[in-house]
Point group: C2
Chain length 294, copies 2
């Protein structure tokens, strides 16, 4: 039996899984996220050992990964600049390693095994501190010419808008990420409220929270409509930390999407679903990528 | 010798071409654009006859065309609603007809024979009254799940921005189309100046016109950066009525693009070129599509 390993290097933790032939996770190992890029190799090696080794390995990294497996930039990993992740990991581990952007890995997982199954044209949207994404078009993951497709959180939707950590203004992720939910709460109520509390209050039908969710849903839908105008997917899958809030936000997002999409009355509307694989999606997808490359 | 016919139904004219095996135009016929959808069939039939008939036929239409060849909506053709263009044209002409969006046809032409040759990941951006577009990814034209990819002019880049004829606000085409050039001139000078005069004045280095072009180039680049963040093409090709203004706008667009793209210092920048096939691109691409389907 082939043991497919997948590791997702995140901002706070590094999660590894073993995947069986049916795509089930049979083992998990979690270690703290590496503080910097030299720690990355150690953390991955530790997880591989903890998983008991494997036949194939894929690693998802939180940043721009080019087609040669070089991590070009990673906002949350100190010291990264043109870091040849694939080459160094292969040298360290003595095996073939596939590396890719973490959101691309999550896309692979949701598309193969989760809420994205059954369609050839898909956009995964992961809502967390920022917004990540991945594209499937014509039945294949699309990474673009340089491996950097899917940086959808940095679409500008308000030219002179909120400053973004990327140095620009008005990026979609300043309005529709998990952390933006808290920002909308502050704008409307004057107090900072964490996103989870906004969701909990909306479930209790507190009017202020329903208003925050409506503003948030409008912004989320605006970006989805932009993406539909560009790539016209059959389905959007919403993942990341807000994936379990479907009951609270989905109806509003769908309604706002149908209102915002260009010429919506003359075209089939994409489905909008929540992701189904939870926080393991990145690691599962990394395992699938590794097996693809082996 | 196969005679490949292509017809581009535009807002003001209907242009047909015959394409030889080398992709050269050997004959042209032009008739006025049909005023409404019933005139469309007559106009296409007239052009086919004027071209002396052919073995294959493709037709580019100015609107949303679905995968079944139904024209779902067309802002500049009166009476269009769910118009089964392919079926009615095939019935009228007694031959197989491929129909597609006009910007998709132009993309096919520039990619096969023009400024887009040689790359597998391309975005064509046509600047006219609005902004149209077409995508090539992984070496194929991508139409999306419902045939409606590439409606890039309706990406919202300024949520409460200028009203668009589509009914929404802040669409990219209100800031970066050919007609938007004249709008920027009015904003800056208080007088309406047609786009061609702005370009002519910028060629004379008139300061006001250089300023208008700079504002325009910034907006054009903002949308290109959004598209690169989503699909990461190797090259952009700028077509439409402004395709012969490369000397005036390209340097500014490239500079603003490099300034606007997310994490631009860590990634290869897409080339930005002007289209090379001129106003016949749509008809040439329609002929190529028709031959593909035959």
């Amino acid at each position: 039996m082939t043991r497919r390993l997948g590791i997702d290097v995140g901002g706070t933790k590094c999660l590894g899984v073993v995947l069986d032939a049916d795509g089930r996770v049979t083992r998990r190992v979690r270690v703290p996220a590496p503080p910097d890029v030299t720690g990355l190799l150690d953390a991955v090696a530790e997880v591989v050992e903890g998983l008991g080794g494997g036949d194939t390995l894929g690693v998802g990294l939180p940043g721009l990964v080019d087609a040669g497996g070089v991590l070009r930039a990673a906002p949350n990993l100190a010291g990264v600049a043109e870091f040849p992740a694939r080459a160094l990991l292969e040298q360290r581990l003595g095996m073939t390693v596939a590396v890719d952007n973490d959101a691309t890995c999550a896309t692979m997982a949701e598309w193969s095994l989760g809420a994205g199954r059954g369609v050839d044209d898909l956009v995964l949207v992961t809502l967390g501190t920022g917004i990540g994404g991945g594209l499937v078009a014509g039945g294949r993951i699309r990474r673009g010419a340089h491996g950097m497709a899917g940086e959808i959180g940095h679409m500008v939707v308000e030219r002179e808008g909120r400053p973004c950590r990327c140095g620009h203004r008005g990026c979609w992720e300043r309005y529709a990420s998990g952390s933006a939910l808290g920002d909308h709460a502050r704008s409307l109520t004057g107090t900072h409220v964490p996103g989870e509390e906004v969701i909990a209050a909306a479930r209790r039908l507190d009017p202020w929270a329903l208003e925050v969710v409506e503003v948030f849903a409008d912004w989320l839908a605006l970006g989805l409509a932009n993406l539909a105008n560009v790539v016209d997917p059959a389905r959007f899958v919403i993942g990341g930390g807000l994936a379990d809030t479907g009951d609270v936000v989905l109806a509003g997002v769908r309604e706002a999407y149908a209102r915002t999409l260009y010429s919506a009355e003359h075209r089939p509307l994409a489905e909008i679903l929540m992701a189904s694989l939870g926080p393991e999606a990145g690691a599962v997808g990394a395992a699938l990528l590794g097996a693809d490359d082996a």
